[in-house]
Structure formats: C-alpha cells, structure tokens
C-alpha cells in the first residue's frame, strides 16, 4: 500500500528511575526523576498539580520533554495550533493506587471519608487529559490500557490518527508506576515474575506527518512504519519477512532488533536470519511493561542518530498473556532527499540538486548527474505549477532518456506559506531560478501557472527565451472583456476541485477515498492561502495583453480535453498569438496530461525538439 504521508518522530522525552543503568541508547541526558514525585512537581513549574497522582506527574514530565525537544510551546496560551495536536497516553497501572486507596477508605470507614479531590484520578484517562489541559492540546485524546503492547499500540494509533486527517501531530506518552499494592497485585497474578523488577518510567515521542514536519522545519529523527501484530507463537511469521529479505527486498539491510526479554525462546529460534545485534532495553532500564513500545521508539531515535544505515525493529509484548507488536524505525533518507534532493525516477543517488535561498524562500534546481554525456544532449527545463511538486514530471522521464533533464522548484508549491508573491513577481522568481542553471536550456516545459509566468518573463526579457517552448495547460483569455465575474467565480469555486484532481492523480494506488482527498486538498488550499492564489489571478488578468506578434520561437500548447481550469478553446486561442505556435488537446486527460498520457506528451516534446522549424505549421 502506498502511503501518501509517512509518519516521522520529531521529539522525544524520557523520565527514568535513578537506578536505571547508564547507556547511550537511552540518551546521555535523559532525566532520572521517575521515583521522585516532588522533584517532578518542581520541574513542571506551574501550580495546580497538588492533587495529581504520581503517574500523571510522570506523564506530564516526559510529555514536556518531548514537546520541548520538538520545539513546541509548553504553555497552553502559546499553543498556536492546539487543535492540530492530539494525545495518546498508555498505562496499565497508572491509577490503581488511587482506586485501592479509595476502596480501602470506604471499607474501613465510610464514603464520607474519601477525598472528592481523588475523583478525576479515579478515571484512568486522567493522564492523557491532564497532558492536554497542561499543554493546550485539543485534537483527539485517547487513553489505552492494552497490556504489554500498550506503548506500541499507542504509536500505531497515533500514526493512524494522522493518516486519517484527524490531526497533524500526535504526542504519545507511556507511563507505569508501582506502589506496594501494585507489586503485590503483580505477584499474585504470576508468582514467576519478579515484581520488584518493575520500575517507574515515563516516555514520550512526538509524531507528525512528514509533510507537516517539512513544512514546519522540524528536525526529523526517523520514520515509523510497518506495525505488525500477532500472538507470541506466530511471531516468526511476521519477523521472517524482515530478516529474510529485508522489507524492501534488499538483502544487505542492516538491522538491530530491540526485543523483549521474555519472548518465547522457542518462537525466536524459528526466525531465520536473526540479526546479530539484539538489545533487550529492559535489561538496562528495568521492567517497563506498557511503556516498552515507547521506550523502544526513544531508543530507536538515539540509535539512528549515530547509525543512520540501520533499520531498528522493535518488538514488545509477550508477557501476562499479551500478544506481541512490532514497529520498524528507519532513518528517513527519502525525506531528507525530498527536502534537498528530489525524488525522481526512484534512483535518488543519480540526481543532484542545488538549493538557493532567494528572499528567504528556497528555490531548488535538480539535475541528473549520472550521465557524463549529458552536456552533449539537448537540455529541457521543467517548471511545475501552483500547489504542485516536481513529482508531476516523474511519469515523463522514462520517455526522455535521450535528453538532459533539469527541474526547478519554486515557493508556489505552497509548503512555505502564502506570501512569496510579496517578495517577487512570478516572472522574477522564474528569472532567478533559471539563473541557477549553468547554461540556458534548449527547451522549457512549464505547467499551468508557471506556463503563464514564463510567458510574462520572455515577453519582458527576450534573452532568456530558449529555442523551443512547451506550455502545458496555461491560462488564457483573448480579450479583457472575457474576464468577468463569472470567470472569477469559476476559478474561486473550482480551485479545490482542481487541487483534488491533482491529489487524486498523484495517488497512484488509489488508496484515498473522496473524503480524504477533500481533506488533504483543503489543507493544501489553506497553505497556499488567498495571497498565493491571488498571484494566479493577477497573471490571468495579464493574459489578454500578451503580445508575441514578432516572436519567432516555436511554442507548443498542450492541454487535456476535460481540463476545467485551462479549457481547450483557450489553449487553442493562445497558440494563435504566436507566429510559430500550435496546440494539441489530449482526449484522455484533464489538467495533468503529463501524468495521464505521459507517452503521448513525451512524443510531442520530442517531435518539437527534433523539428527544425515550425513556421508555417500553424
């Protein structure tokens, strides 16, 4: 299943007991106050925690560390996007002490002797909700008690909430605390388990979609994926697929396995190709029960920080009749490269890119570097339109291997906000971007908004004009009179639909339903903002004044029959303003013919670049 968004960890927090062994994998500077309710109280600074139980204080402390690590505020009033952050907390023993204390008081005395201040603590979810109140986190708030896999289950549930579009970020917190009564309870449940080995612990991770992390400039520790669950007896079926072949079929994947001590030896022995490196985190930290899955996530971050070529597989569960749950963590290679190097044809290492900061915005130029003869080949520069990324050109590439391909990325892809138009006009952005190229391209292929921006640029400055131009789905009106209120309202009202078409078309495996598509499209529209969109309007308003009467360069205008934004009739009219212009309409396409009919589009591009002269073809 193709995931539209991958989920990444951008913050960690850990509160250990003082007696936990020192080990780099738990973080050199992780806190050691898990046994000290009063110290935790001081750390949390603000008043109002007097009646909170130890588990809640411990959860708050780990949560605070993770929020701070992710660079987020810890004061509710400063939480700008509280409805975009949710909480999932997990604990099995959290409020057991409160319950036993209350019931003992009633039994030995009377209900009138219990403290009404204990009422919130009698509800197990007090840990999750107090974290929300304390830090102003208003998206979904869930508390899990799910035995030994609680922590891993919480991480999986948080990933799902983000993928389902419920929130951008999720804070996942695990807590276990033990008092005398709890240890007695454990001992009564299973005499073979050493109740004394269970330690007070709090651990937290902040998860967000890679999209949100990149947009917010968060530091990305690693990616989380592939949750697998089974009974302990069936664990080998799940894990075999990792160790045997690697999850992507790469045999040379390096693995470290964080495994729970108590997993049945018999099951493990049946797993083929077990990685030599195995770590039982509980032998370092102590028995952590429901927190283990989150402790493993924190340790995975620490591992990947220093050994980014490893994948970390973590498995928790298997005690107290529980099932097992595994999660995979990996350095997010792809994401880092997506930020600084484009994803093109899946062969990331064959591409290089250069990022320039222009007026505070990043403009990025990507190019194939594998081909030593590229200089001999005709070069084509591709420029994406509004709220698109350069992945829109990906389907075309395999048909254009004989050419030297260049790709530019501009702020109107929208992830950096809506005010880029205040800094430079669209044509000036293009000029600065094209300036990054070592030499002028032979051909420019521009899509949608960028096609118009490119026309504005060449009409102002003929020196940038390449030998051939391809405009895909540009916007055009022949006369000023044609741009009236109905045209304006058409573009305003159908903009979301257009974004949705782009989301749909890029969702190759069709895994989004329309509800999700709309939610994602709304998010994209929100990011582009009214200011960003207005740059499109301005450029549309300029189109009737375009004058190319003495322009000799061949121009090919392409669009799709069902394009609602750039109608075939307007594209045909635009082609007519160039002495060497012509248009072609693809029958099976909408606004994205290069994705829908890449082979045919590539043919048109190749024909044009090979043609000596188009004069007279009109």
């Amino acid at each position: 299943m193709k995931k539209l968004e991958s989920i990444v960890i951008t913050g960690i927090g850990l509160e250990l007991p003082a007696r936990a062994s020192s080990h780099w994998i738990l973080g050199e500077d992780s806190a050691r106050d898990a046994d000290e309710p009063q110290v935790l109280l001081k750390k949390l600074k603000r008043r109002g925690l007097k009646y909170k139980d130890h588990a809640t204080r411990l959860g708050l402390s780990a949560a605070q560390a993770a929020l701070q690590d992710a660079g987020l505020p810890i004061i509710p009033e400063e939480q700008k996007n509280g409805t975009g952050i949710g909480v999932i907390a997990a604990s099995n023993f959290g409020n057991i002490a409160t319950i036993l204390k209350t019931v003992n008081t009633i039994q030995t005395e009377h209900v009138n002797a219990v403290s009404p201040m204990d009422l919130p603590n009698a509800s197990s979810n007090v840990i999750a909700s107090t974290i929300a109140i304390w830090y102003g986190l208003k998206a979904l708030n869930v508390f899990l008690c799910n035995g030994a896999t609680s922590g891993a289950d919480a991480i999986q549930m948080a990933c799902r909430a983000i993928r389902a579009g419920r929130t951008e970020k999720m804070l996942v917190v695990g807590v276990e605390v033990y008092e005398e009564a709890t240890r007695k309870f454990i001992k009564d449940s299973d005499a073979n388990i050493d109740a004394a080995s269970f330690v007070n612990i709090g651990a937290a991770v902040l998860l967000e979609s890679s999209e949100s992390a990149i947009e917010n400039g968060s530091k990305i520790y690693c990616e989380v994926e592939n949750c697998l669950k089974s009974s302990p007896e069936k664990i080998q079926e799940n894990l075999n697929q990792y160790f045997k072949e690697g999850d992507s079929g790469e045999k040379d994947d390096k693995f470290v396995w964080f495994r729970p001590e108590r997993l049945l030896q018999e099951s493990i022995s049946r797993i083929e190709g077990l990685p030599q490196e195995q770590i039982d985190l509980e032998s370092i930290a102590g028995e952590t029960f429901g927190v283990l899955g989150i402790l493993q996530a924190v340790a995975a971050v620490n591992w990947i920080k220093t050994k980014s070529d490893y994948k970390v597989l973590s498995t928790s569960g298997g005690i107290f009749n529980g099932n097992v749950c595994s999660l995979l963590y990996r350095h997010c290679d792809k994401l880092v490269k997506r930020q600084h190097q484009p994803l093109l044809s899946g062969n990331l290492h064959e591409w290089e890119s250069r990022v320039e900061k222009i007026n505070g915005y990043e403009v990025e130029l990507a190019h194939s570097k594998k081909d030593p003869d590229s200089k001999e080949k005709p070069s084509i520069l591709f420029i994406h339109g509004m709220v698109e990324d350069w992945d829109i050109w990906e389907p075309l590439q395999k048909y254009l291997e004989d050419y030297d391909l260049w790709f530019l990325k501009f702020p109107w892809e929208s992830s950096r906000g809506q005010f880029w138009g205040k800094e430079l006009s669209p044509e000036s952005w293009l000029r600065d971007g094209i300036d990054l190229m070592p030499r002028k391209p032979n051909m420019v292929v521009a899509h949608s908004f960028a096609a118009n921006a490119f026309l504005e640029l060449v009409s102002a400055d003929n020196s940038v004009t390449p030998e051939k131009i391809v405009l895909i789905s540009p916007f055009f009106r022949k006369t000023r009179d044609e741009i009236d209120w109905s045209v304006l309202s058409h573009y305003v009202n159908h903009f979301l639909e257009l974004i949705q078409e782009s989301v749909q078309i890029r969702d190759v495996s069709r895994r989004l339903d329309s509800e999700m598509e709309i939610a994602i499209s709304e998010k994209i529209r929100e990011r582009l903002g009214v200011y960003g969109w207005t740059e499109f309007l301005k450029i549309l308003l300029l189109s009737p004044d375009l004058n190319f009467d003495s322009f000799e360069t061949p121009v090919l205008v392409l669009t799709g029959e069902s394009d609602i934004a750039s109608r075939p009739i307007n594209c045909e009219e635009l082609a007519q303003i160039f002495p060497s212009g012509r248009a072609h309409v693809f029958k099976e396409s909408g606004h994205f013919c290069m994705i829908e009919e890449p082979r045919k589009v590539a043919e048109k591009i190749i024909n044009l670049i090979k043609s000596e002269n188009l004069v007279g073809l009109k």
């Binding site: 197990s124 109140i133 869930v142």
Partner: protein, 382 residues
C-alpha cells in the same frame, strides 16, 4: 466509501437485546434499584441502575463486565451472520472503568483478578482467536464512541475489513463512592435536562456493533442495518471533570464536517444527558447555539434516565438505540423530565411518551471526564 453496521448486541439493566431495551425505553421502564453489590451502610446514595446477574444475591463477583462484553460481541456477530473465530477481525473495546471492580474485589475479598484482566485482550482473544487484534480504549464516558471513530478510520484507511466495536462497564465501588462524595445532594433518580435535576447515578451496560464497508457486507450477503457517516472527536483541554462549551462544539462540528452534513440534516439527537447540573446546562447550551439556525425542530432524547450512566458503554448504547429508532420510527422519551431546562425552541426534548417520527440521520453525543468528546452520525439505510 460507505461504512455500515451489520450487527448489534446490547445488555443493560432494562434488557438484553436491541429490541427489548428499546421497547422498555419507549415504555418508560427504569432500571433503577437498590444497590446490591456493595455494603449499603458505607454509602449515602442507595440506588443504581445495575444489571441483575449475580450468582448469589448481595454477593458481588469479579469479571462481570468481561462477561457482558463477550455476550454482546457474540450477539453482534450472530446478528451480522458471522461465526466467532471464523475470520480475522479487529476489536476495539471502549470502557471507563475496565475491570476495576475485579481489582477492588481482589483487594478486599481476594477474588480472582490478574494483570491481564485489567484490559479485555485475553478474554476477547479466547472468544475470537489468538490472532485477534484487540485494543482497550479507556476514555471515560466517551470511550465507545471514540472506539467507533477509530474503527471508522481503520476501515477508511484499508487497515481492516471488519471491526467489532464494543463498550462495557460495571459499577466500581471507588467511582460510585467518589461520584457520591462529590455531589452535595442525593438524587432520587437520574433526570436529564430537568430543571430540578440532582445529579448522576451510575448504571451498568454493554453494547457491541460490527462495522464494515458496505461493499464488504454486500460481498458476503450481509444486510447493512445503518450507515456510520462519521465520528467527530475533540478534547477540551480545559478541566478534568467540568464540561466546556467550545470543546463540545468542536466535536460536533468535526462530526458534521466528516459526515458532510449540517444541523438541518439531523433528525434525532441522542444526548449525553447525565443529569448533572454542569453537563446538562452546557450540552443544552451547545445544542441551542448550534441548532438555532435550523428550520423545524430536532428531537432530543436522553436514555440515561432509564439505563443510568453506563460510563464507557453509554455512547454505543446510544448508537444501538438510535438504530432501533430508525428502524421503528419512534424516539424513546426521557423519563422524569417534567420541567425542561431553559434552552432554545428548536430542541424538542421528547418526554412522557415516544415520539413517532421518521429518523434519517441521527447524532449520538458522548462526553467524558478529562474533556474528551466523541460524536457519531448515523444514517438510515435506504
């Protein structure tokens, strides 16, 4: 993608099937009785809406909520023409108090309670097979509606074909005591939205539904009973026990947005209505604010007046009753509602006798301690 319910099971103090619980609600039958699980002399409040199933009268026993959970899951699967254990499925259990009552009985009477009975995983896997993915969501009184929302996400994202969503809660001595201790007066009954209401009284119950894609149900020749349009969720981030107008509004708006519907589309609101001063005032205020603009009034019913506050099970119990209301074209009255709390004229609090009306779309509210809110929207299958 259309997601629907293909089977349901329910157990409360006033019945053990969707049909008979609904019929009793329509006949104003209350499950309120003198408490039988605890020593009466230790408490001021002497009544609750208990399920009367103890083997020895007056002697409490461990494992009751687990027993009910398994029963309603079996009923729901049977209703959906599914054999327990016949195929892999996921189960989400929403609860407020887990098996805390068993823990209390371990503490005071050395009755059986193990670490693994603190969540429902082991018990459900025993019924449905060891590879069943079971998650226990402990989200106070909104727990089972959260379960419904998460199940909806699992199916939308293609993670699961069939998800059983359940809710269950038995009364614990500690919560019964603390709720009584926090209320300065002793309520004679739970009277939602009544001007002279005196507070909440706990109830016991369980419910389960089978959730799947309509296309999946069609493929196995199962009949959808009702569509789940969407579930909205929010957290007040305001107060541990007091409700908050904005947080509840956020959950309702989120539910409407996810269900692509508006206040004008809602024919029935199954209110959270707990009979406390704070909840009913805030809930009535929120509903009045949000539904003010609509044309015609909307039926509001609060069944906790007869089932008591069934904690984590209450949301899903509301869902099952809304399904019956759609099927029968009747809305159960709110028992004990005489003088309606001041609110807007657009809200038609059903009282005295059932209201006969066609229900196409219903909204089920559930709000819990900690300010956790989950609101479900159901649609009649045409």
């Amino acid at each position: 993608m259309t997601i629907c319910i293909t089977g349901a099971g329910i157990l409360t103090s006033i019945g053990d099937s969707p049909e008979n619980v609904f019929e009793n609600l329509c006949n104003n039958i209350s499950g309120l009785k003198s408490i039988s699980g605890f020593t009466k002399e230790k408490f001021n409040l002497q009544s609750a809406y208990e399920i009367d199933d103890r083997k020895t009268e007056g002697k409490d026993e461990s494992g009751r909520s687990t027993r009910w959970l398994l029963r309603v899951i079996e009923d729901a699967l049977k209703n959906a023409s599914l054999e327990p254990g016949s195929r892999k499925m996921s189960v989400l259990v929403g609860t407020g108090l887990r098996e805390h009552r068993s823990l209390e009985l371990w503490n005071t009477e050395k009755q059986k309670c193990d670490v693994d009975s603190l969540d429902y995983g082991s018990a459900v896997r025993e019924l449905l097979g060891s590879e069943t993915d079971v998650t226990t969501i402990v989200n106070a009184c909104a727990a089972s509606n959260f379960g419904l929302g998460i199940a909806h996400d699992m199916i939308s994202l293609g993670e699961a074909d069939i998800v059983v969503v359940a809710g269950c809660d038995s009364i614990t001595e500690s919560m019964f005591g603390l709720l009584g201790r926090a209320n300065p007066v002793i309520p004679e009954a739970l009277r939602p939205f009544e001007k002279n209401r005196k507070g909440v009284i706990m109830g016991e119950g369980a419910a389960a539904v089978v959730l799947e894609r309509q296309s999946h149900a069609d493929a196995r020749n199962a009949s959808p009973i009702v569509k789940v349009r969407g579930v909205g969720m929010s957290c007040d981030a305001y107060h541990e026990t007091a409700p908050d107008i904005d947080g509840i509004k956020n959950a309702i708006s989120d539910a409407h947005k996810r269900s692509s519907c508006s206040v004008d589309d809602i024919d029935l609101i199954m209110a959270h209505g707990t009979g406390t001063i704070a909840n009913d005032m805030v809930e009535a205020q929120v509903l009045a604010d949000l539904f003010e603009s609509r044309t015609g009034n909307v039926a509001v019913s609060a069944i906790k007046s007869m089932t008591g506050h069934t904690s984590g099970a209450s949301g899903l119990i509301g869902v099952v009753i809304a399904m019956e209301a759609m099927r029968t074209g009747k809305v159960p009255p709110t028992l004990g509602l005489e003088d309606v709390i001041e609110s807007a004229s657009c809200l038609n609090f059903v009282k005295d006798e059932p209201l006969e009306v066609e229900i196409r779309i219903a909204q089920i509210n559930a709000f819990g301690f900690g300010g956790v809110n989950a609101v479900a929207i159901l649609e009649q299958v045409s």
